[in-house]
Symmetry: none
Subunit: 193 residues, 4 copies
DNA sequence: CGATAAACGAGACGGTACGTCTGGTCTTGTG
DNA sequence: CACAAGACCAGACGTACCGTCTCGTTTATCG
């Protein structure tokens, strides 16, 4: 009965990424990306896209998730605090580049589309949160991080500045900066004089 | 000769806000807001808008800045750390409401418009940064905050989670949460065992 | 594969005529006629018009040609000179009315649009020329019109005054006048004294 | 009381002609000519044009009349029929060139502007008619043209083909053609067999 | 193995908005 | 008070996409 064409699916996801984060040539902003453009680029009819995705953002989220494979793994053999410190740094490095710009635009698109925001959180963000939660819990077990804080509170303090710099485009966004940030967050800001 | 009409300017800014953050009725998302709509609502011709603003975002930034008067002042008579704690909380409270949604959308629009991002940073963000910098410096002088940290580093740790929760729409965004956040940030996450 | 909608086509042509040569109400000049107006009147989107016609004039020419069915036939049973005389008169009568005004405006629009002029000549004018050529040739065969003149020369002399009065809006434009004109043209202006 | 500035008037008329029938460069069609453009080109404000002319066509008519000085005089010393024949030819020659295109466009503009048409007839056409009337009357007196025809009837037959070819852009428009035309018109089309 | 139901490309359709242009009016100095 | 400068409302321009909707035309099971 004519199953969904994998060929079309691939062409659509690939075309989307290649428009929005091309190997070469000018990238097109997520806002200016249109379904018509994707269809044209993918050699696919609009109908096919509309049949399988509810909106432009949905296509982009799918494309992004396939593309942005978790390239920021953490090291299980290091002490949790070390692994966490390195994870933070690698996340900062990745988000400091073109994928970061893309992520920022995805988050931006989600601001006016609650459905998309839900999708984004379910499929990207919760996954990320889980990664950090695991590490933080381990660090708490290993006794390097206060266990009177919820893992979410710790995650907020550690990861927030990365997204902050990503979205406000203000200040550095790289591994070195992230390392220093981690140290400060752990140490606290209170004067010890 | 023929000076700019203050009447038109007001009508445009007012119409913009009333579309995007109405006292009553359905708000229209910033993305779906169109210059035509603003013109219609303001009883003004498109030309007049295009004459004075380069883009939709520019109008919105102007409107937002006029509307979002600094309603999060800090108290000069309190010790700086108290004032900072309260300021954080009041910012969190405000951004937890409809103005926060608006701000989030403005930031979102800026993701694909470098001009707008610059404008936003120059006119909103730097101003905000200055407020917090002032408070943080005073706290460092008063000896409550480490003075081996730059004020920007402190600001990153303290304010980032607010924008994080604002833009990811994940987790609480209110004064109580902010108070606790402040305490944690000051104290640090390292276990003291 | 989604054929052209005859319904839309009809609506567009009808709306155009009804705006430009309404049964009742005020006619709108061809110059002031806009594609937006036609679309509005026809209950059709602008896109649909632009998809099928290159310009306003093109729509009008199509509309005019459908509307202005050859209502000035010639009689095959009469002697050619009689038929020609009557044809001239009926043309003059028609052009003396509202269709004439319309035709004049179409010709006017063509003055600054070579494409349209070509279209107009190909689809209207050559057709008309052929009608008169046929009659003139027959009259030459029947020996009533000089056969040392090309049919075009005869047509120029016979039909030109009609278009002249039509476009300069100077002088009469009706059957009686045309009859007299025909007689004069045949007889010549030279004094026979 | 600040009288009308002759300087402005000249600049406006000159600019108009130089846009519409430039010595060099691309001519702009009368339809695309705008008051704004004239004002810009003339270094004059729109207000000034609107103060003195009711419409674009009015400006153009004025410009045209100043520019198109009667360069088709007739010779008083020749027999009237000769003078008429030559006059016809010189008119055809002039209208066969760029001034003819301009005139055609003026007449075109008048099709949807009765005021302009009246102005055009009063200031251009009646003047022309008078010229030909004078000649025709003389020819009737001299016995070369039938005096049972009104001068208008003769003028119609003689001049109409020129305007016909001018406005339909169909067929030749030059002196030689006009000469032949004249002869035919005088002789008549009826077969003399 | 042939019917049949889905997925597909193609693309027309009614819409909305874009950013630009011109029209014509009105206002505010300047000379 | 004529004029320049130019702001203003109005509205059309032609284009790009939107999301919906036929259309045939594959294509892959299922009866």
């Amino acid at each position: 009965m004519a199953l969904r064409s994998e060929e079309s699916r691939r062409a659509i996801l690939d075309a989307t990424i290649s428009l929005v984060n091309p190997e070469e040539g000018e990238a097109i902003s997520l806002q200016k990306l249109s379904i018509e453009r994707i269809a044209r680029e993918a050699g696919v009819s609009k109908t096919t896209i509309y049949r399988w995705w509810p909106s432009k953002v949905a296509v982009v989220i799918d494309s992004f998730l396939e593309y942005h494979v978790a390239r920021t793994p953490f090291n299980d053999e290091l002490p949790a605090s070390e692994a966490l410190r390195d994870h933070l740094a690698s996340v900062a490095d990745v988000y400091g580049g073109s994928e970061g710009r893309l992520l920022a635009q995805v988050i931006a698109e989600c601001q006016h589309d609650p459905e998309a925001m839900k999708e984004f959180k379910d499929r990207f963000w919760l996954n990320r949160l889980e990664t950090s939660t695991t590490l933080i819990r381990r660090a708490q077990d290993e006794g390097t991080i206060r266990d009177d804080l919820s893992s979410r509170e710790v995650a907020d303090i550690l990861y927030a500045p990365i997204y902050f710099h990503l979205l406000l485009q203000s200040g550095p966004l790289d591994g070195e900066w992230a390392h220093r940030l981690f140290d400060t967050a752990l140490e606290g800001c209170r004067s010890k004089k």
